[in-house]
Amino acid sequence: MTSAPPAARRRAIVLFGALGALIALMSVADMFLPKAWDGVVPDPYAEGGIHVRAVVPGGPAAVAGVRPGDTLLGIGQRMLNTPAEAASELGRHASTDTVSYLVKRGEQVLELQLVLSPYRLGSAAYVYYALLGALFFGLGLFVYSRSAGDAAAEVFFLLCVLFMLFFVCRLRPSSYYWIDWFVQVAGTLALFLLGAVFLHFFLLFPHRKVFRFADPRPGEEAPAAPLVLIQRFLNGSPALFVFLYTLPPAFYALQMAVLRRTGDRSGLVYGAPRANWILLADYLVLGLLALAHSWWTAREKTTRRPILVLLLGTLGGIVPFVLFAVYFPSLFRDERYLAWGVVPMALVPLTFAYSIVRFRLFDVQLIVGKSIVYAILTAIVTGLYALAVVTGNALVSSQALFSSPLFAFAFGLAVVLLFDPLRRRMQAIVDRVFFRDRADFQAAFLDMSRQVVAQLDRGKMQQLLTERTADLLRLTRLDLLTPRPEDGALSDPRRGEEALPVGAALGRMLAERDTPVVLRDLDPASLDPASRSFLKAQLGRGVRLLVPVATRGRLLGVLAAGAKKSEEEFHREDLDHLATIANQGALGLEVAALHEQLTRRAEVERDLEIARDIQMSLFPRELPKIAGIELYGVSIPAKVVGGDFYDFLAVDGGFDGRVALVVGDVSGKSIPASLLMVAAKEIVYARAMQDPEPSTVFRESNRRIYEIKRRMFVSLGYFLYDPVELTLHYSVGGQPSPLVVRGGEVTELPHPVSRLPLGALKDTTYDAKTFWLRRGDLLLFYTDGLNEAMSVESAFFGDDRLKASLVRHSGAPLPEMAEEILEDIRQFTFGAEQSDDATFVLMRVTGAKPAGTAVV
């Protein structure tokens, strides 16, 4: 047996529901539209005339003398064989016509005159049946509209339609009208199908029931073949359901054939064979047993509770129904207790409705506004009080004391005072029953979401995200797969299982969507091999869902969720929760990453501060007092630590001898530059202390620095001041030549021939020059960070501006001069970030030497 395509099946179900509703409406309308009425309640299933089952007391038939048990032979000059013909005849008369009735009573034939009256056949009991049917239909329609495609919801809808047809179409008197035919056929159809659909539903709900009584356990012998066959039959749904649905009509056809042959109609109950009624009852009882079995075998408390509620409600409705509405009429031919069987049936839809609201049955989430519930409660309480007032008045009105206006006032006051407490008490109950669990869950969920975002520790955040969520949603497992540092493939760092490589189709799919992906819905054929392999591994681990943890289109990780512990399918709300959690997780991951970055930066900055301190300690703490010259040095690193340095070396052992002024600039910035700077400084010092000759220092230092670090250079100015000769003997590599202000003119010190920075080439020779100083000379030794300071427009401060600044401030004491030069540079670079370390040393010659010395 092949099942119909979903769309065709859906259309068929909708059509069935619509037809059922139409017939029920026709039946109700037929019952309540006024029509010419004779007050006869015929047996709708009798043949050969109209058998009067009852006459309505005070109705036209009763007034005219028609009695139960009579047979109506004719109405209004027409002989009749069926109630339908009677309907046709009555339909020709106005509601106040006097009409002849030919009645057979025993052996007598009487002609009676009936004065017809307008009448609505529907009684209060029928109103209840109709409302009950509407309740069933409304519930079924609601469930189906919210869970279309779910097999159990579809069967439930059909069940509700059949219950409606049963109540509306079978539990009604015949009206004689043509509608009766539709209604009776629909009612008979409902009788056939109701029990089978009821059983079918509880074989599917809450889980597809699987019978296991013939599966051998380890060590057991193979079961008998018939048992295996029966088990296979019961578990092969098409065969089982075909059998279930075929049985009632087969029973009906068989018995009707026998009845037709024998002519004995005593086996008919409401026009249907008694055996069909018994079969209906049997199906209902089997359905209840199936539900009870589901409750008995459910493992999770959360699953057992709703099933128990449904079981109790369904038992409360079905058992009286079976007893009083099926067994009594069919076995004992006693219809007196019919209402006892039908009235409690309201428990069935009410219990289902309660379970939908309370336990989200059929994955239907129904948010019942508290205001609506409270309004209903208030109305109920008001009604109760009104009833109390009426009852109270009725009981005490005869006594003089209670007829006093004071009593009425006091009674009213008592009602007013008691109204609110009672309402509050009822609201509390409703809150506890309907809203507490959900509120608790939402609070816990919210709390966890907050914690996920607030947790800065990535490990703890991941733990919170996975373990707490799994606990809240009752999942068998929930893992967070994150990109591996080495290759970015998604994997669980704790397990090191199959990873999803970067660029895999599944990864792209997850990055593109922000909703959970149900693994069983994926078509492996549409995936690349890597994704397929990953998918297989995840399914093997019991993973059912992959939830992307992404932000701004960037996949930060994936939540891999296992099945629910209750073995239920994932509800839509579960998926929403997982998606929300994934979003919170993405935020949390980003926050944690940011936090890690900040922490690392703080650590670096702290290290840099230390390095700066260390570096600053490498600069002269005090400027040496050297005869004949004044000195002032400044070094401003572009970062916390820089690559520039300057120092004064007493190459002869004290500052009263020759002093070497060293100004260095290491290529690059920050830590590497500062480290090289330290190294370079030590190298230069060591060489200078061995042999202060500039060219020698340069040559030796170059070789050493080249060995330390390739492609990092050190520009160096090495100026050996001789206080005796009042000269500067120097070499400069990779640095601008110092400026000298003499007689208000600024010039550059002559350049040595070799100007390569140290470390550029392995073996390089450097030459040295000598500059004879004069009293009043002002010299500026500087690194390129000074003249190449950049403005916001990326313009250099330049040699000219530097020279002008130097000349302009040349009369000032050295510290002030240094500050003024820096101020000029700051003004030029206003707003721009310092691009390079800036270091300079000012030297003013205060001693004297004979003139006429020359530069060598």
Partner: protein, 474 residues
């Protein structure tokens, strides 16, 4: 369930097409009205249906009018033509025949059912082949087992064939298909009365009355039943109701006479019988009522007036055919002979019988036997007049047995059978055999415990003076 616009459009179009198709079909069915006969005129069809309805309620006059009007609207309406022919055949066979001929010449596009009905009419009217007609009717029933028409006609065939039980079953089948067939109720009513199952007979006649409350016939039938079973007040009410509907409905007047006889009021009976004789048109009916009136006069103690009445009837014979004239004279002389004999004037009675006309030579054997049996009554009366009560008893018993035989198939439950038994009882009493006399009266009183002549006979048996007037009050 998401519905895309194109799909919605398709669905709406499909639904609209279905609605149009359904409405068209419904309209066609409604307009055609499920017609089972061929006609070009909807109005003619409605008239035809009305005619059918009238016909099944035995409103033959109305039915004739309806069929005639239908034919005016559609002259080629074959079924209306045939129905008209069927309804007038008893009065004007030739015209009925010509109608069937015209239908046969222009049958038009008939359906199978109509063709078969036409063939039945052709067999009956044109071929005068009742056997073939019966076969065709049986074929009709086989081919159209749910059509009441077939059973209606089959019952007629079976009745002709004298298959009483099958007639009964056929009418019951007819009523299960169409419970509004008055003719069936009328038949079934008399059928059960004939079997002396008066309860069932009354049941069916009441159904007939219910179907045709504005017809005189069902009231008359019920009135007759009540009169013959001693329910005189109900009988009077029904018979008067019949005469209200149709004042010239002579059977009801005659039954009023019968009612008065039963009540023991022969004088009143005389006037009713006389009036019935006046109103009736056929000589047979007139003769029957004159005879009844004379008999009542005799019972009222006025034998001379009774004889004078018969004599008066014989002096003014209607214009009759020789055969009719024979029968007229035969019954009149026979009645006079009986009255003369009952009056003790045996010689005059014999002289009267000698006046009987010669039996026509071309009369068949059955007819001759009937005439011979008709003379048993006067012979019994003569035997009584001569004091030969043994012979009288023997002849009367022969007549009673014959009457009982008739009761199984016909309806002679009154008055002849009852009166025969009263005469028999009187003869037995004259022989001093009162118990036998009482026994002979028991069947009469079982049917009508208030039948005054029988009660008078009982009184005579018990040695009391008979007072018909007084006994009627019992």
């Amino acid at each position: 369930m998401s519905v895309t616009k194109p799909r919605l459009k398709k669905t709406v179009l499909a639904a609209a097409a279905l609605v149009v198709l359904g409405a068209g079909t419904a309209t066609a069915v409604f307009v055609r009205g499920g017609r089972d006969v061929t006609t070009t005129s909807a109005e003619a069809y409605e008239l035809y249906r009305k005619g059918l309805e009238d016909e099944r309620r035995l409103y033959h006059k109305d039915a004739l009018e309806a069929y005639a009007k239908a034919l005016q609207l559609d002259p080629h309406f074959t079924m209306a033509t045939l129905r008209l022919a069927g309804n007038i055949s008893s009065r004007d066979h030739e015209r009925a025949r010509s109608l069937v001929q015209s239908a046969s010449r222009n049958p038009g596009h008939l359906n199978e059912r109509e063709k078969l009905i036409l063939a039945i009419f052709e067999a009956e009217f044109l071929g005068k082949d009742m056997k073939k007609s019966g076969e065709l009717i049986r074929e009709y029933v086989r081919r159209f087992p749910d059509d009441p028409e077939g059973y209606y006609r089959l019952a007629g065939v079976l009745m002709r064939e004298g298959k009483g039980e099958e007639v009964l079953a056929t009418y019951e089948r007819l009523l299960s298909l169409d419970p509004n067939q008055a003719v069936a109720y009328n038949f079934l009513g008399y059928h059960f009365i004939g079997r002396h199952d008066f309860v069932k007979g009354e049941d069916y006649l009441k159904r007939y009355r219910f179907l045709a409350p504005d017809q005189a016939n069902p009231y008359d039938s019920l009135g007759e039943l009540y009169a013959n079973t001693g329910r005189y007040d109900e009988a009077e009410e029904h018979l008067k109701r019949a005469l209200q509907i149709r004042p010239d409905f002579f059977p009801a007047i005659g039954h009023l006479g019968t009612l008065e006889v039963g009540r023991g009021n022969p004088e009143s009976a005389v006037s009713q019988f006389r009036r019935a004789a006046e109103v009736s048109e056929a000589w047979k009916d007139k003769l029957m009522f004159v005879g009844a009136a004379a008999s009542a006069l005799f019972d009222a103690g006025r034998p001379d007036d009774a004889l004078a009445m018969l004599g008066e009837a014989s002096t003014a014979p209607p214009a009759l055919s020789p055969r009719e004239d024979f029968y007229f004279r035969y019954h009149l002389i026979r009645s006079r002979a009986i009255l003369l004999a009952r009056a003790g004037r045996a010689a005059e009675a014999e002289a009267e019988l000698a006046l009987l006309p010669a039996v026509p030579s071309d009369l068949d054997r059955k007819g001759k036997e009937g005439l011979e049996k008709g003379l048993l009554g006067p012979q019994a009366a003569l035997a009584g007049a001569r004091g030969d009560f043994e012979s009288a008893v023997r002849i009367l018993r022969e007549l009673v047995v014959e009457d009982d035989d008739k009761a199984s198939g016909g309806f002679p439950y009154y008055p002849s059978g009852f009166r025969l038994r009263v005469h028999l009882a009187d003869a037995l009493l004259s022989l001093g055999r009162p118990e036998e006399a009482r026994k002979e009266l028991q069947p009469v009183l079982a049917v009508n415990p208030r039948f005054a002549p029988a009660l008078a006979a009982i009184d005579r048996i018990e040695g009391r003076a008979a007072d018909a007037k007084g006994s009627a009050g019992r």
